[in-house]
Symmetry: C2
Subunit: 293 residues, 2 copies
C-alpha cells in the first residue's frame, strides 16, 4: 500500500514522576498532489491540483468532475487513466479524463466562478442558488424511515473498515450504506472533500447514481462543500461524527437532505429532515445547556 509511509519519531511521554523519550517507528498518511487534466475535442485542460492520499485516483477525478457539475454522469466519460510524467520521484500524480466525442464540459464551474456571478455579491444564499442551477440529482427523494439504532451503529461499522485511520490517525473517511444496512463503499483521504469525491466517483462508475436510498457517513465535520457534493449525487441522509457548519445546515434544509451531526457515544443530533428518522419516546424539553460534545 502506498497510502501510508513509515517514519521514525521521538515520542515524549510525561507522567507524575518522569518525562520519558523514545525513538519509535510511526506510520503517516501519504499526502501527494494529484493533477486532474480533462480532454475534450482537441483540447486538454489542466483543471485542478488537489493534495490527496494516493489510491482510487480515477474515482477522485471522476467524482470531482461530477460533484463540481463539470460532467453530468458516467455516460460523458470515454476514458480515465494516469499519465506517466517523467519525474525523479517516479510518482504517478497526473490523471487524464477523456470525454466522449461531442460532450462539452461545463467548465464555468471549474473555478467555482458560480459563487461570484450573482449580481448581489457572494453569500450563503447565492452559493445555494448557484448549486441549484448546476445540480444533477440533488437529494430530497423520499426514503423509508430509518431506525435510530441503525444510525448509532454506523461509526463502529466504519471503524472496522477504516484501517489506515487506525494506523495513522491522519485520514478522513466517507462511507456509503444502503438503508437495509449494507455497507456499499468506503473511501479515505487526507482531505475530507477528496474522500467524498472518491466515494461518489466510484458510485457513479458502478451505475449507482442517484444514491436515493443511501446514507453517507462522514468521519469528521459536515461543511457546506460536503453537503453540496452529497446533494449532487442524490444522497438523502448524511450522518457526521463531528459538527455541521451553519451553511451546511441551510443547504441541507433547502434540498430536503436529512443532516445528522455529533454521531458518537450513543447519541446524535438531527439538524434537518428529522421525518426520515423513526422517533421513539419523545420529550419536548427546551433547556439551555447546549454543549453537545
Amino acid at each position: 500500500m502506498d497510502n501510508t509511509v513509515r517514519v521514525s519519531v521521538v515520542k515524549l511521554t510525561e507522567d507524575s514522576t518522569t518525562t520519558l523519550t523514545q525513538t519509535v517507528p510511526d506510520m503517516l498518511a501519504v499526502e501527494e498532489p494529484l493533477e486532474i487534466r480533462l480532454a475534450h475535442g482537441d483540447r486538454i485542460k489542466n483543471l485542478a491540483v488537489t493534495m490527496r492520499t494516493p489510491g482510487h485516483d480515477a474515482d477522485l477525478a471522476l467524482g470531482f468532475l461530477f460533484t463540481e457539475g463539470i460532467i453530468v454522469g458516467a455516460a460523458d466519460i470515454a476514458a480515465v487513466a494516469p499519465i506517466f510524467v517523467a519525474c525523479s520521484e517516479n510518482r504517478q500524480n497526473t490523471i487524464l479524463v477523456t470525454l466522449k466525442e461531442g460532450i462539452v464540459p461545463n467548465l464555468g464551474n471549474a473555478d467555482r466562478n458560480f459563487y461570484t456571478t450573482s449580481s448581489c455579491g457572494v453569500c450563503g444564499k447565492a452559493s445555494i442558488d448557484a448549486i441549484r442551477t448546476v445540480r444533477n440529482f440533488v437529494s430530497g427523494g423520499p426514503v423509508q424511515e430509518i431506525d435510530p439504532s441503525f444510525i448509532l451503529g454506523l461509526p463502529t461499522r466504519l471503524a472496522r473498515e477504516q484501517e489506515v485511520f487506525a494506523e495513522t490517525g491522519g485520514l478522513h473517511a466517507a462511507a456509503l450504506f444502503d438503508i437495509n444496512g449494507s455497507l456499499l463503499l468506503v473511501r479515505e483521504d487526507v482531505g475530507r472533500h477528496n474522500a467524498v469525491d472518491k466515494l461518489i466517483g466510484a458510485a457513479m462508475m458502478q451505475g449507482r447514481l442517484p444514491l436515493a436510498d443511501s446514507v453517507l457517513l462522514l468521519s469528521g465535520r459536515a461543511s457546506f462543500e460536503l453537503v453540496q457534493k452529497a446533494a449532487m449525487a442524490g444522497i438523502p441522509v448524511i450522518a457526521a461524527v463531528g459538527a455541521p457548519s451553519s451553511l451546511a445546515v441551510t443547504l441541507a434544509e433547502e434540498f430536503g437532505t436529512t443532516l445528522i451531526g455529533f454521531l458518537r457515544n450513543n447519541r446524535f443530533n438531527i439538524y434537518t429532515g428529522s421525518h426520515r428518522v423513526t422517533m421513539p419516546v419523545r420529550e419536548n424539553v427546551e433547556h439551555e445547556n447546549t454543549y453537545q460534545g
Copy 2:
C-alpha cells in the same frame, strides 16, 4: 458575535433501556463565503472565494495573500476594507485589498500554478521546490531549546481561549505563542487553512514577521498546506493536536521546521527538528506497536 448561530435540533440519546428524543437549542459555527479582491494599478482582480467563519476578514485576506506568495509583506498594502455589495442577505462577504502604487503582485501563484509548471510533473518534491522559489522567510532560524512541559501545556491554554469551539465543536483554531510562554494570537475558523491565514495576517499587520521565536499550535491535523504557510511566515516550531501527513513531515524537514504531532494526553511525537526540544530521560527503544492515538 456573528460567528455562531443558534438553531433547534432533535437530540437522540440511547441507553441500555430507552431511546429518548428531545428538541433542544444548539449553536453552530457560521460558514459563509468570502470573496477576496485585489486592486493594483488600475486593475481589480477577483482572486479567490473561500468558505470561512466571519470575523477577522482583513487578517484572512492579508494572510492569504502573504502565505500564497502574492505579496511580500505589510509594506505592500495601501488599504484593506470590506466592500458592501447590495444583497438581500445583507452580508459583508467581499473584501478589497489595495496595493501601494508601483507594487506588482506575484499573481502567478494565485492559482497555485506553481505546482504544475515543473517540467517533471507534479509531486511532493516539485511542490516543495516551488515553495522554495516564492518563500518569504521560510523558517529554520535557531530558537532556544523548548521545555517539553511548555509544549504539553499548550492545548489547555488554547482551550481556555477557544470559546466558539467549546460552544459549537465546529471550529479549527490556530494559536501563536512566544517561546517565553506568552500567548500572542488566537484565530478560529471552519477551515483550518483560514485559521492559520487569519493568524499570520494579523501577525504581519502587527509587524511581527518573521515569527522567528514562536510556536504555532494547531487544534487539528498538520497538512502540507499548513506547514507551508507557517514556513512562509518564518515560524520554526509547529505543534499539532492531530496527525501530520507525509508531505507535511517532508516539508518540515526540508525547511528545518520542528514538527510535533499528537500533542495530547501528556504525550507528543516529534517528527522533525527534535534538537529544539530539551530531552529529559532518553531510552532508545524500537518497538512495533506504532499506534500513537
